[in-house]
């Protein structure tokens, strides 16, 4: 009782400045909210949205062909330039790559996620989780670099094919039009493999999360009602896992659209959107065109997210 009286006295006497401040915040939730939200919103609003806006603004400027300086008046000329065949090529190439990477990673991720969600238990489950988490969060550049070692002409892939007496097969693959090249590290195929490798964990985790939420009773029920395992998979599990696949594809698609490091380190000299942005803002000094190029992934991802929302992918994130 004596203990309870203490704070009571504090209230009666009005307490210190801190106490009054605290009372003010507790009794006025709106003020509390403002205090909590203020700093992060100011930071993200000013630093991030401000910067994003500054960038979008520049895409409506144009570059003076004679002086090479940015002319700060409103024009759609830069967007006209974006639609030239050479630039359209870059956009189509990047979107095609993003789509292939997304499809392939869904195919490879599904068995891993399925096993982790339905069969792995205890220690194994933790191990699976860590095995996916570690590469997701860490060492992006190191993991890209590893592929430069692997795909190099004198590297391990060539060596394995030679040991298996399959050099003819590797040469045959490299001789393929479009995806081939002088060596794996200078071909679309190489770029594709690295993209696939780097973004795979982003696909596994949402699929696993979606599969974990499928109740076991539902699968048992479908079995009791006479569905074969194959039918149960196709009509019960797959539709319920689809939002997870779509959620994962948001990452694989968006990350591939914007990456410029991977195609720079492993790939042919033909540009992707990220590289185009990088060269235009850097050596070429054409910030307006670089800005217009970044609008492409923003618009594509806008539509993508809108579609994903309709498929219920946000609940699977």
């Amino acid at each position: 009782m004596a203990d309870a009286a203490l704070p009571l006295r504090a209230v009666e006497s009005g307490g210190g400045l801190l106490r009054r401040l605290s009372d003010l915040l507790v009794t006025r939730p709106r003020l509390m909210l403002l205090v909590l939200l203020g700093p992060p919103l100011v930071w993200l609003g000013v630093v991030y949205l401000g910067a994003l806006f500054a960038l979008l603004l520049q895409s409506f400027f144009s570059i003076d062909e004679f002086s090479g300086l940015v002319r700060r008046e409103f024009t759609l000329r830069t967007y006209g330039e974006l639609l030239q065949p050479a630039n359209l090529d870059i956009i189509i190439r990047t979107v095609t790559m993003a789509a292939s990477v997304t499809l392939a990673s869904a195919a490879i991720a599904f068995p891993i996620a399925y096993y982790a969600a339905r069969y792995a238990r205890g220690r194994w489950k933790a191990l699976f989780y860590l095995a996916v988490m570690l590469p997701l969060w860490s060492s992006y550049l190191v993991r890209v670099y590893a592929w430069k070692l692997i795909l190099a002409k004198e590297g391990i892939v060539t060596w394995i094919f030679a040991e298996l007496h399959l050099t003819w097969l590797l040469d045959g693959i490299l001789a393929l039009p479009v995806i081939g090249g002088p060596s794996l590290s200078i071909s679309y195929l190489g770029t594709f493999l690295v993209f696939l490798y780097i973004w795979l964990p982003f696909m596994i985790l949402p699929i696993q999360a979606a599969l974990e939420r499928v109740p076991a009773s539902l699968i048992e029920a479908s079995g009791d009602l006479g569905a074969t395992p194959r039918q149960a998979f196709a009509t019960v599990i797959l539709p319920l896992a689809l939002p997870g696949v779509v959620a994962g594809s948001i990452f694989t698609f968006s990350l591939t659209l914007g990456d410029y490091i991977i195609p720079q380190i492993v790939g042919s000299s033909r540009l992707f959107i990220g590289q185009a942005v990088y060269t235009h803002q850097g050596t070429a000094g054409n910030i307006p065109l670089a800005a217009a190029f970044t609008v492409v992934p923003i618009v594509i991802m806008g539509f993508y997210l809108w579609g994903a929302r309709k498929l219920g992918a946000f609940n699977a994130l």
């Binding site: 704070p7 909210l33 992060p40 919103l41 500054a54 599969l211 699968i219």
Partner: protein
């Protein structure tokens, strides 16, 4: 979702193959850090040596880059922890107009490709005529690190029962006491885990950094320069091994810090 029959062999093989695909390449980096061949990526390595660790140890440029990376990661993590916790406190506890927009705004810096964050910051620095410095790097890193801390904190706050806070207030604690004695102990491991992830994320970030660093080089920027114009390839491998260790350890720590919470939270799902 336990199955009586167990997984089929095909599924096991596919899952194991996928995991090997994720991890074998990293082992190769370890191997190449010991190779005696410095001009190419020849496999198998002609010989093994420890020489490159000594060479890397003696390189001043590596130490400078490492120092910069550590300082940037530390400051960015602190800022992200502060901002992320505040935002989580607001979003987890109350419903207000624009709540969805706030969570979207926090997630946006990592949902949009890094190059967009990078080039927008650069364009803004240009317009505002801010010269590149240590702080321009921190500005970029803190922005995309907020979401990591926020995610961890919001998940924990949602699980913590509101009645605890009410009880503490009913027993006479003021808002600050409640925060210090009830909320913070509940939140501590989630915050620490978020901080660790933010640190790892910042420590090897390269895409945003290339746009905000100017002439300075963080460890990943140093590596990128070496990748484009290789000098002593095995030294790059030694640094790569170090980066793997420096980012794996905080992530492992973060996992163990939040693991218990996940089990407890799983009950109520």
């Amino acid at each position: 979702m336990r199955s009586k029959s167990g997984a089929s062999t095909t599924l096991k093989l596919a899952a194991a193959g996928g995991l090997l695909f994720l991890h074998l390449p990293l082992l190769l980096i370890f191997l190449y850090a010991f190779t005696t061949e410095e001009k190419s990526y020849q496999f198998p390595p002609p010989g093994l040596t420890l020489e490159w660790f000594a060479v890397a140890w003696g390189r001043a440029d590596i130490w400078a880059a490492l120092g910069l990376s550590l300082r940037v990661a530390a400051i960015s993590t602190l800022i992200a922890m502060l901002l992320g916790t505040l935002a989580a406190g607001a979003v987890a506890r109350s419903r207000f107009f624009g709540r969805e927009a706030v969570s979207l705004l926090i997630i946006l810096p990592i949902a949009l490709p890094g190059i967009i964050t990078g080039i927008s910051l650069r364009a803004a620095f240009n317009l505002a005529e801010i010269p590149f410095s240590f702080w321009t790097i921190v500005l970029g890193h803190a922005t995309f690190c907020v979401v990591v801390v926020y995610n961890n904190a919001v998940a924990r706050l949602r699980r913590a029962s509101g009645s605890l806070i009410e009880a503490s207030m009913d027993l006479g604690a003021d808002g600050f006491q409640t925060f210090r004695l009830v909320i913070l102990p509940n939140l501590a491991t989630a915050l620490l885990a978020g901080g660790m992830l933010a640190f790892a994320l910042s420590f090897d970030e390269v895409i945003v950094t290339t746009f905000t660093a100017g002439q300075q080089s963080t460890l990943p920027i140093w590596m990128l320069t070496e990748l484009v114009r290789p000098r002593q390839r095995p030294v790059t491998n030694v640094v790569a091994v170090f980066v793997i260790a420096a980012t794996f350890l905080p992530i492992l720590a973060a996992y163990y810090l939040t693991r218990e919470g996940q089990h407890a939270g799983g009950e109520g799902k």
